[in-house]
């Protein structure tokens, strides 16, 4: 417990309710970084504060709201498309290919496992340009029924890691994703836990260009700057 804990502990409820002015909220957040007691209380009381929006009487939003929102979204999607033009002669062909979605990626991973390829590095390309789904090497001494796959989009940005059969990371711990560049492990900026059946997933922000491997370790809440455990799974990219 930090020395200034008593000065701040009364702020927990006000912070969760959004009742602290911006500056006070920032100061309290800095205190949270160094005060485990306040962090624990915050996580406990979050159950109540996060339930408050669910007590609101439901009101139907006007259809014009969705129309206006989607008009902007489609316009911006078209602009993004124009910024990354495909070769015109390829476009009709590409648009007929099935789109790669995480569901398809997950299904592909399950199929790979079903034929007994739980270990080793697998590569399956399932349409959608250069998108790839890579099967992970899982440490079965830690996760006997574990399996994982990494979906890498064609532009190598915003990859999605999907896991199954992983044990819970333990109290006060999370799974942290790492990327290996030049032989050095760096935080990928993605933490995740697992639900029923040990399943979970984590989006990896940014690009995987230059990344040799993606790995996952169990770390303390909030993650670590360097891996402190052996990887529970690894995906080789090169």
């Amino acid at each position: 417990m930090s020395r200034d804990h008593e000065q701040y502990e009364e702020n927990v409820g006000a912070y969760l309710l959004g009742a602290l002015p911006e500056l006070e909220a920032e100061v309290f957040e800095r205190h949270l970084d160094s005060c485990g007691s306040c962090r624990r209380e915050l996580e406990q009381l979050r159950v109540a504060s996060e339930a408050l929006p669910r007590a609101v009487e439901p009101v139907v939003p006007p259809p014009e709201l969705k129309e206006s929102l989607m008009k902007t979204v489609w316009a911006e999607a078209a602009q993004r498309e124009e910024a990354q033009p495909k070769r015109r002669w390829l476009r009709p062909f590409l648009e007929r290919l099935p789109r790669l979605t995480p569901a398809i990626a997950a299904a592909a991973a399950v199929c790979v496992l079903a034929i007994g390829v739980g270990l080793g590095i697998g590569l399956s390309q399932i349409g959608g340009g250069n998108s790839k789904t890579l099967t992970a090497l899982v440490d079965h001494s830690v996760a006997p029924s574990g399996a994982a796959s990494l979906h890498v989009p064609g532009d190598r940005k915003n990859a999605l890691l999907t896991v199954q059969g992983l044990p819970a990371p333990g109290a006060g711990r999370v799974y942290e994703v790492w990327v290996q560049r030049g032989g050095t492990m760096q935080p990928a900026g993605a933490l995740f836990s697992v639900g029923t059946g040990g399943s979970g997933s984590a989006g990896i922000p940014g690009s995987l260009k230059g990344v040799e491997a993606v790995a996952v370790t169990a770390e303390h809440d909030g993650g670590a700057l360097k891996p402190t455990q052996m990887p529970v799974l690894t995906v080789k990219l090169s």
């Binding site: 929006p53 009487e57 006007p62 709201l65 929102l69 836990s193 989006g203």
Partner: protein
């Protein structure tokens, strides 16, 4: 439309990943799943449809433009979306110095969901709403009042202290005790 059918099978977390990767279909489904709750919260807080619409539109556009990234380990998609809407609504309320708003009275009542319109999902959410309201109703009046003024009214602890003519420390203490009591009611915890 096959593509949309495939997306409808995705859990919120996967759908959010696809949407923030730039897929408008996935984003539209996310809005369909959570836009109603987002609008209901904003409308409850500001009391006018036009302001609530602006807030929800800006909140969802910030998600689409990936100005805020979803982190699944922190909260469910619904909780995360509603948190963004709550923050934006508080910002909107605090920018308005007069703090003027019309509470949902005659306006909009006819648009509240009626029993005949309830889908199964909505029925579950109504049940959840009843449970949360029940937990709120167990609080002493002075605790529920400060919680409602803060969360739904967007008032700061100092504004609430002035309104209720009590020390700021008392307001903060009641917020904390009220949330703790709600938590115990909702989780069945004994301490």
């Amino acid at each position: 439309m096959k593509q949309t059918k495939d997306l409808t099978r995705l859990a919120d977390e996967e759908l959010m990943h696809v949407a923030q990767g730039g897929d408008p279909h996935a984003f539209e489904l996310l809005y369909d799943r959570h836009g109603g709750a987002a609008f209901s919260l904003a409308y409850r807080m500001v009391g006018t449809r036009a302001v609530a619409e602006d807030i929800v539109q800006e909140a969802f556009l910030s998600i689409w433009r990936s100005k805020v990234r979803y982190e699944r380990e922190r909260a469910s998609v619904r909780t995360w979306v509603l948190g963004i809407v709550h923050h934006r609504t508080i910002d909107a309320l605090r920018r308005n110095l007069v703090h003027e708003r019309r509470r949902a009275s005659a306006e909009g009542i006819e648009e509240r969901l009626g029993a005949r319109e309830l889908t199964d999902v909505e029925a579950v959410r109504r049940e959840e709403a009843r449970e949360v309201r029940a937990a709120l109703s167990t609080l002493p009046g002075e605790q529920s009042r400060v919680i409602e003024l803060a969360y739904y009214g967007g008032f700061t602890h100092t504004q609430i202290a002035e309104m209720l003519d009590m020390p700021v420390g008392t307001v903060k203490g009641r917020m904390r005790l009220g949330l703790e009591k709600m938590r115990r009611e909702m989780t069945g915890a004994t301490a």
